[in-house]
Symmetry: C2
Subunit: 163 residues, 2 copies
């Protein structure tokens, strides 16, 4: 039940040959970096809040080129520095059950980001876990692979600037 389930989950796997796990971790956990890669261009991130502890807030506001804003609100569940980050929009900060899922598409899911050392770089795995096949299908059709892949490319392009 707590493993990748191809019927319910989506997974993006990438290798970054020259970007260390510590750099990817910083990109994922510091608002100033998240603002620059967390949505595919030409969309932008209008705001980010990160409280990096279990139950701590993870809030992003995505903005369309036309200026329309889409908030995403959730909380962190598990934090293993440089290795694993888990968050969900099913629970609000403080672990309160969410009344309505505040994500762009009202899509309830839990995200697991795994980072491993791989040669001089990193192996990166991002998993989205859903409650049923319908939510998985909807997330897939929204362009999970393309969207999360483009974001990861943006993260890698930003890596040289991350200290």
């Amino acid at each position: 039940m707590d493993k990748f389930n191809p019927e319910l989950d989506l997974r993006l796997e990438r290798v970054a040959e020259n970007v260390k796990p510590e750099t990817i971790w910083k990109a994922w956990t510091r608002p100033e970096h998240l603002k620059r890669w967390f949505v595919p261009e030409p969309w932008t991130i209008a705001d980010v809040e990160v409280d990096l502890r279990p139950g701590g807030i993870f809030r992003t506001v995505m903005q369309s080129p036309e200026g329309e804003q889409f908030p995403n609100l959730g909380c962190f569940l598990e934090i293993v520095e440089n290795k694993k980050l888990v968050w969900t929009d099913v629970l609000l900060p403080g672990f309160r059950p969410a009344a309505t899922v505040e994500s762009g598409a009202d899509l309830p899911f839990t995200a697991i980001v795994l980072i491993e050392a791989h040669g001089k770089g990193s192996k990166y795995t991002a998993i989205a876990m859903h409650k049923n096949v319908e939510d998985r299908k909807r997330h897939d059709e929204m362009g999970f692979q393309e969207g999360w892949g483009k974001c990861f490319d943006q993260l890698i392009a930003l890596a040289p600037e991350i200290r």
Copy 2:
């Protein structure tokens, strides 16, 4: 957002003059003890699974005197030994969003149990956090105060046997 909200939450507070926090913690986290106090008599606990880590399973099966069984499935969110235990039925083990909340009354909530040293004994606080006023009201009318209170009395009665 991550504090007690009287409009959305329920709270039971008790003082146990002669029961140490360590004993209450063991009663809450070991299946052999949970089986003996976790539902008001004459109901019984037919089965318990505890994997005491964030994302680990917390499953109980309550059984009516007539033999009907009511499973409750969720996962632990935060574990601070002898002090704080947080779990929810909104997420399944491994943090997957739950398709339908498997509790006796299909009631989504997050439970926070707080234990503090208090003289020679303990102060005990149990909080149930809900997503809206309707769920809080339903949980209240199901007898939260009386049910959780009776269970705590049963726990205290069991305390002399807990090592």
